[in-house]
């Protein structure tokens, strides 16, 4: 088991009701983590509509997770 900090923004913040959480998980990569979270929160956005970042860098969904990693799930952006 590892502990992953996950931060939620915009639509995902509203759907989870959380700004962030520490999740104990066996997920080895971002795909498995997303599937686990989708089971908990029934996100309306599919994974294909999101990007993910680990420790302040955008990553491939295949990125492996380490204990203590901070993950941001990034819904479609609209800055500017």
């Amino acid at each position: 088991m590892k502990t992953i900090k996950i931060r939620y923004f915009a639509m995902l913040r509203e759907e989870t009701g959380k700004d962030w959480e520490d999740l104990k998980t066996n997920a080895s990569n971002l795909v498995e983590l997303f599937d686990e979270l989708k089971g908990l929160y029934h996100f309306s956005l599919p994974r294909e509509a999101l990007r993910a970042a680990v420790n302040n860098s955008f990553c491939d969904w295949q990125e492996q997770l380490k204990d203590g990693s901070e993950v941001v799930l990034v819904p479609p952006v609209a800055g500017g």
């Binding site: 931060r7 923004f9 915009a10 639509m11 913040r13 309306s44 956005l45 599919p46 294909e48 509509a49 999101l50 990007r51 970042a53 302040n56 860098s57 955008f58 941001v72 990034v74 819904p75 479609p76 952006v77 609209a78 800055g79 500017g80």
Partner: protein, 153 residues
């Protein structure tokens, strides 16, 4: 000198602009993205911007470094606003200075395009009819890549 910040206060363009320009710079270009009263046919009352500040700052640093490398910009100042904004408020400021105007135009355009496409910043539009919506999040799934590239200004 390159600088990016996120603020929930009003953007003070005059003060930011003073940071641009050196004795070698012949061109200063400042872009401001402003809240419009309409978007895609709907009348907009106000906006709410939300950002993941740590990730946005790290990604903005990468974008600005790319712009210096590609266009030889001398100075860059970028600021993005968060929180509730009304029509006419400045949402984003992108100022550059450099020797010649060609690089200033190309570099400034690159910066605002990449900021809009890449930074983790989200916009909820509140419409005059009382409805609201996270921009770019309503039609999803079939063409996510395109949606990430969708922009409003």
């Amino acid at each position: 000198m390159i600088s990016f910040s996120i603020t929930d206060k009003e953007i003070d363009s005059s003060t930011l602009k003073e940071k641009l320009g050196t004795a070698e710079d012949g061109a200063i270009l400042v872009f401001e993205g402003v809240v419009r009263n309409h978007n895609e046919g709907k009348a907009v009352k106000s906006l709410f911007y939300e950002a993941c500040e740590s990730l946005a700052s790290a990604e903005a640093e990468r974008i600005m470094t790319e712009a210096v490398f590609k266009f030889g910009l001398s100075r860059i100042v970028c600021v993005h606003r968060t929180g509730h904004l009304n029509v006419g408020d400045v949402a984003v400021f992108v100022g550059v200075s450099t020797g010649h105007r060609g690089e200033a135009f190309a570099g400034c355009r690159y910066l605002i395009d990449e900021i809009k496409h890449r930074l983790p910043i989200w916009k909820k539009e509140h419409y005059l009819d009382g409805s609201h919506e996270w921009v770019n999040c309503s039609h999803h799934g079939h063409n996510a890549k395109h949606e990430h590239g969708e922009v409003s200004v």
